[in-house]
């Protein structure tokens, strides 16, 4: 089996043949679109007429003339920067609860995971109703406790926190992955820590977190990706009365996230070239953020 490196022979041909479906797929649905998207981003293109080359005009409009571009970018950054840590923290806490050795744990695990299989559209519609300022469940509970009942999706200050809240309901996946990570931490480490006189908090700080860091890293990366393609919930939850995708992203554009604005430009305003420019910027932003995350990943414990 010790074949020399760098040789190209029969095994390589067979390997490539088996990998062919994906190689063809990534070329047609990955590489070509990225290149093509760059060309389209330099064009004015409404898809009915052929693309007309206009140089960097789309980019200059985006950066200098379109406040909604910045607004949508900010909204997405907001949901990533504030929403993601909250959701990861919640998922971790849930995972630690679900890791306790008690009877009936499988019931609790099931309930935690269940919301993640609910179709996104159904989740969105359900939460519009829960978040209804006057008749919704959440505000009824808040009023009952004597807390202020915000307008949630109808109030620009509260609309993004509302979306984060909906996200928390769907953190079951993340929690279950954390749980799997927790279960891999050797008991001996905790016992050793107890012998050293470490309290619960210290155990968490010095045993749990480091041992869990690869899982945290994984969830962080997946979370960033998820956040930069976050679309369905806002599209459904904030849609205007007009319907047909119009008016989504309100109130006051406070939930106009980047993928939604991109979609609107492409499929509502007929500006495919402009949308392609946004797509390329999205591509670069995600690449830069991920590069940064991977570069600064020295905190990830590479033991397991």
């Amino acid at each position: 089996m010790n074949r020399r490196r760098g040789r190209f022979g029969r095994p390589e041909i067979v390997g490539l043949m088996f990998a062919a479906p994906w190689l063809v797929g990534i070329s047609i649905f990955g590489l070509y679109p990225i290149v093509s998207s760059f060309y389209l981003s330099l064009c004015r293109y409404n898809i009915i007429r052929p693309p007309a080359f206009i140089g960097i005009e789309n980019y200059s409009i985006l950066f200098t003339e379109d406040p909604l571009f910045w607004k949508s970018l900010w909204n997405t950054v907001y949901l990533t920067a504030f929403g993601l840590p909250v959701q990861l923290g919640f998922a971790l806490a849930a995972a630690m609860l679900l890791n306790m050795k008690v009877k009936g744990q499988s019931v609790f695990r099931t309930l935690t995971y269940l919301p993640t299989v609910v179709p996104a559209v159904a989740t969105a519609i359900l939460w519009v109703w829960i978040l209804n300022p006057e008749y919704g469940l959440l505000n009824s509970v808040l009023r009952f406790i004597g807390l202020p009942a915000p307008g949630w999706l109808s109030d620009p200050t509260w609309s993004k926190p509302a979306l984060i809240l909906v996200g928390i309901w769907g953190t079951g996946n993340t929690a279950i992955i954390f749980l799997a990570g927790l279960q891999q931490v050797p008991r001996a480490l905790y016992e050793a820590a107890t012998v050293d006189g470490a309290g619960i908090l210290q155990q968490f700080r010095h045993v749990t977190l480091p041992m869990l860091s690869p899982v945290i890293f994984f969830n962080l990366v997946m979370g960033i990706i998820g956040s930069f393609q976050y679309f369905t919930h806002v599209y459904v939850m904030t849609a205007g009365l007009g319907g047909g995708g119009r008016g989504a992203g309100g109130p006051e554009f406070s939930t106009l996230v980047y993928p939604l604005y991109l979609y609107q430009n492409a499929f509502l305003f007929f500006r495919m070239g402009y949308a392609s420019a946004m797509a390329w910027i999205l591509f670069l932003i995600v690449a830069v953020i991920l590069a940064f995350v991977f570069r600064t990943s020295s905190w990830v414990h590479e033991d397991s």
């Binding site: 040789r7 190209f8 095994p11 390589e12 390997g15 490539l16 990998a19 062919a20 479906p21 994906w22 990534i26 047609i28 990955g30 679109p33 990225i34 093509s36 998207s37 389209l40 898809i47 609860l97 679900l98 306790m100 008690v102 609790f108 099931t110 935690t112 995971y113 299989v117 609910v118 179709p119 996104a120 559209v121 159904a122 519609i125 359900l126 939460w127 008749y135 469940l137 309901w169 996946n173 279950i176 992955i177 749980l179 990570g181 279960q183 891999q184 990706i225 930069f228 393609q229 679309f231 599209y235 459904v236 849609a239 319907g243 993928p259 991109l262 492409a266 499929f267 392609s276 995600v286």
Partner: protein, 279 residues
């Protein structure tokens, strides 16, 4: 010691309290959905709201099923799911065989590219892919929803590769010595051994296709071709504030998935909980 044995069942009380709060947070929205779906307009807008509908109104379900039209969209969704499942199972297992069982130069590089490609948001390629399908005359057909799965979804390839790595090499080697072709080994040795992993692929590709919204939104325009997710969203657009009906419709489209989840819970939870996380 024995004297306090009766206290033993209570030592977990704090844990149960916390767990119940947690599970409650996840469960209450479901209950609210169900309960609202059984209320008439008067009860819906009752203040303060009640959890138990009284009287129980089943009309909402009947209205929702007729309005959506539920059965037609169910059929559409199942067609697409079937296509996507076949595509995903066939293509992902082939590619995973190449990346997990076969040994060849460049394999690991390819695997890294595969992992990297999982990180690409679909919005980046959305417009050109739409243009591709348009030039193929496939807009407003199911092809754009099915065809891509025949080209290997990175997530499933990854999943199957991890599984294939665990198949003992002796088995494949033995078959190779017996003169089996590579395809023969893939088909007669690896695939039969991987039924549990393939079942996971089937399950997840079913659920993702069922819940997918963006792709049908972009590609399907004729309302007779809508999927359940898209149909539900269109239903919502024309029936705002008819919360009883909306919740009934949402319940209907969620129920099959939940039923499936409970039926295949072993594949699901066991699979998820025993995650290797070799990412």
């Amino acid at each position: 010691m024995e004297r306090f044995a009766f206290l033993r069942p209570f030592r977990h009380v704090p844990a149960y309290v916390l767990l119940s709060i947690l599970a409650g947070c996840f469960a209450v929205p479901f209950i609210w959905m169900l309960s609202s779906s059984l209320k008439d307009t008067g009860q819906i807008f009752q203040f303060p709201p009640t959890i138990f509908p009284n009287p129980v109104i089943w009309d909402n379900y009947q209205k929702a099923v007729n309005f959506i039209p539920f059965l037609r969209y169910l059929g559409n969704t199942l067609i697409i799911c079937t296509g996507a499942i076949i595509g995903n199972v066939l293509s992902a297992s082939l590619v995973a065989y190449s990346l997990g069982v076969l040994r060849w130069n460049g394999r690991d590089h390819l695997f890294k590219i595969l992992i990297a490609s999982m990180l690409l948001p679909p919005q980046v390629t959305m417009v050109p892919v739409f243009v591709i399908f348009r030039s193929l005359g496939m807009i407003d057909t199911y092809w754009p929803l099915i065809l891509p799965s025949f080209f290997g979804a990175p997530f499933f390839i990854f999943l199957l590769r991890q599984f294939f790595l665990g198949i003992p090499q002796e088995l494949t080697e033995a078959a190779r010595i017996d003169g089996c072709s590579e395809f023969g080994i893939y088909w007669r040795v690896v695939v039969p051994l991987s039924v549990p992993a393939l079942a996971t692929v089937v399950l997840f590709s079913f659920i993702w296709t069922w819940t997918d919204f963006l792709t049908p939104l972009i590609y399907l325009q004729d309302q007779n071709k809508f999927t359940l997710s898209l149909g539900l969203q269109q239903f919502q657009e024309s029936n705002r504030a008819e919360w009883g009906m909306l919740m009934a419709a949402a319940t209907l489209i969620t129920l099959p998935i939940i039923a499936l989840f409970f039926a295949a819970q072993k594949t699901f939870i066991e699979g998820i909980v025993t995650t290797g996380l070799k990412g």
